[in-house]
């Protein structure tokens, strides 16, 4: 390891202090609560109790995986075509992608409640053209849609960034060497864009799997995800210990899935995110 001078230590200090206070210390607090009971005595009871939350973990992961896959399917071709367009058109379209993020997530989700409601905007339109109303709000579909809508930009951005760095000369070379469209995609573009895909997947999956607001508002209080379970324990049931143990397991799951993703991208010769 290279020895670092005092200058770089000093420059790193602000963030180091920040991360110790706001990331490392809280992690230890979560760990402490997860393994203690109400009186502060060491116990595994909270972890054992988690077996009752198995189904909730499965639902959350499943919904988030679906949301992530949908985001990827939408974003990948979009990012590719966007990266091949003129500077001006790219700038405009990127702004449109980012535009919803100028508004707070809570407000965006609240607005979707009105759109997806029984007598909401969509059903009113359907009624206007003589179609039967569709039940949207309160269904898993609405919750997954909420995740896709809110986190889509996090998928588009990293993929677009790597795509726009792919040298056009590489694609020309592939064509010169006899690649057809499909092979060009499979052998050149996909491997080169993989790091962006990996970081996009992480950035969509992680907030989706831990969300609680989207499921509450678009699920009509009928769909309970891990985030809701944690929020309930912390706020309403006032059981920090159980809440912390659910959080801890969720974090470990996320870390494992990120490690797997990173390993995957390593093997393909991509960058570590």
């Amino acid at each position: 390891m290279k020895k670092r001078g005092w200058g770089s230590v000093a420059l790193n200090a602000p963030y180091t202090v920040w991360s110790v206070i706001f990331i490392v210390v809280p992690l230890f607090i979560v760990g402490y609560y997860a393994f203690t009971d109400k009186n502060g005595a060491f116990t595994f009871a909270n972890i054992i109790e988690l077996k009752e939350y198995g189904d909730i973990f499965v639902t959350s992961v499943w919904y988030s995986v679906l949301a992530t896959v949908i985001c990827l399917l939408i974003s990948y071709p979009f990012a590719y075509f966007l990266s091949r367009q003129s500077e001006q058109s790219r700038r405009l379209q990127m702004m449109l992608v980012m535009l919803p993020m100028w508004m707070n997530l809570l407000i965006r989700t609240y607005s979707w409640m009105n759109i997806l409601e029984k007598n909401g905007i969509i059903n009113n339109l359907l009624a206007g053209i003589g179609l039967e109303p569709i039940k949207m709000i309160g269904t898993p579909g609405a919750v997954i849609f909420g995740m896709v809508y809110n986190y889509l930009p996090y998928m588009i951005l990293p993929i677009y960034t790597v795509m726009s760095k792919i040298e056009p000369s590489l694609l020309e070379a592939a064509e010169d060497l006899g690649c057809n469209g499909f092979n060009k995609m499979r052998r050149v573009i996909m491997p080169l864009s993989l790091p962006g895909v990996i970081s996009g997947i992480t950035m969509v999956f992680v907030p989706s799997v831990s969300t609680f607001y989207i499921s509450q508002k678009l699920g009509d209080g009928k769909i309970m995800l891990v985030g809701d379970a944690i929020e309930r324990q912390m706020q309403a049931a006032y059981n920090y210990n159980l809440g912390a143990s659910i959080s801890l397991v969720l974090m470990i799951m996320i870390i494992i899935s990120m490690a797997v993703m990173n390993k995957f991208s390593d093997e393909e010769g991509g960058l570590v995110i």
Partner: protein, 370 residues
């Protein structure tokens, strides 16, 4: 093209400036009151912790109570919100912050007193306490009126959409009626949701018998089949927009909903209902006790209490408001039902930790089955 966009944006900005300007006209001083409040604690800060949307805040030309208090006393009000008694309790318990005034409900005040988290209020300083109706003095959670000063009162009732419901419902049982499947809402918090099933089954709201809680939980699981959802503040959207036919909610909020959707009606079911009183209290670890007393007294000033009663739309325990001709909700049957129409009511009491975690567990099962 670009030029048109610029013009459009400029127009938008001008329009939005006017919209904001119209809100700025709210009055934030109460004449005559300035003289009666001392500036002794000017420059100090008062931390107030209250329910969201639970104080007149100057919007739509109403009185900005906190601003008026600041003007009268020179004390800076640091105001923050919570959305449930339990969230407030968690925050107080964490001791990360100390509040000078909190406004929890009855059963939570009982718990706070039992856990020594409140301090006595020096009633000699609350000169406006005389405005409080006798009906709300000596309540079960503070029999000697030492720890709390009533702020706002309410009852839960049944809200229904007259275009979607046949006849006039008079019982909580309609919330189990298969005819209104997918059009029924209930509370998304255990205590309020259980209360409805308890009233229907004739079980005391504060029962410590676990078998009673099991029975009420079974009833709620049965209800899951006909429910559209479990909601809290989304109920406004749902009922105002005609997205659901039946929902239990707080009487004062019904008035807000009805002002937007005239098809809504309200009834106190015959089995009885939950009544609550939210009262101002001073936490044991308050840092600005004297200013807290001034603030609580200020809330009881006739003009201030009137502004709050008009803004919140809940019933007020303040006689000076009730006797004021200008009070627009004075004759509301919903807030102040005539003696012969008064529903049977029950307060929530604080339950011990064992029962609490028992019903929380039952509630989680109910949530999962829905």
């Amino acid at each position: 093209m670009k030029r048109y966009t610029a013009i459009l944006l400029a127009l938008l900005m001008i329009v939005s400036m006017f919209t904001f300007a119209s809100c700025g006209s709210a009055n934030d001083t109460v004449e005559n009151l300035e003289a009666t409040y001392s500036q002794e604690y000017a420059g100090t800060t008062l931390n107030v912790f209250n329910w969201g949307e639970y104080i007149s805040d100057g919007s739509e030309g109403s009185l900005d109570v906190n601003k008026a208090f600041e003007n009268a006393t020179g004390i800076k009000v640091n105001y923050s919100n919570y959305d449930s008694n339990e969230a407030m309790y968690a925050k107080m318990k964490s001791e990360a912050v100390s509040y000078d005034v909190v406004i929890p409900s009855d059963y939570m005040i009982e718990r706070l007193i039992n856990e020594n988290m409140l301090q006595k209020i020096d009633m000699s300083k609350i000169t406006n306490y005389k405005n409080i109706s006798d009906e709300y003095k000596g309540l079960y959670f503070d029999e000697n009126d030492e720890y709390s000063v009533p702020y706002s009162v309410g009852m839960v009732g049944l809200i229904y959409n007259t275009t979607m419901v046949d006849g006039t419902p008079d019982s909580w049982s309609i919330m189990w009626d298969g005819k209104y499947k997918d059009n029924i809402l209930t509370f998304n918090n255990p205590r309020d949701a259980f209360a409805i099933s308890q009233f229907l089954l004739g079980i005391d709201l504060n029962t410590t018998d676990k078998a009673d809680w099991d029975k009420a939980a079974d009833k709620l699981k049965e209800q899951n089949k006909v429910l559209q959802g479990k909601v809290m503040d989304q109920v406004f959207n749902k009922m105002q927009g005609g997205n659901a036919a039946i929902a239990p909610y707080y009487a004062g909020d019904f008035l807000t909903m009805q002002s937007i959707n005239e098809d809504l009606a309200f009834v106190y079911p015959k089995e009885g209902t939950n009544i609550f009183v939210d009262s101002a209290c001073i936490p044991a670890n308050a840092k600005n006790y004297e200013a807290a007393l001034m603030y609580i007294n200020f809330l009881l000033e006739p003009e201030v209490a009137l502004a709050n009663a008009e803004y919140i739309c809940y019933a007020t325990p303040n006689m000076a408001v009730l006797n004021n001709e200008e009070y627009s909700l004075k004759d509301s049957e919903v807030l102040y039902p005539a003696e012969e129409n008064k529903p049977k009511t029950q307060y929530f009491h604080d339950l011990d930790a064992d029962i609490r975690s028992y019903y929380e567990k039952l509630w989680e099962d109910i949530l999962r089955e829905s």
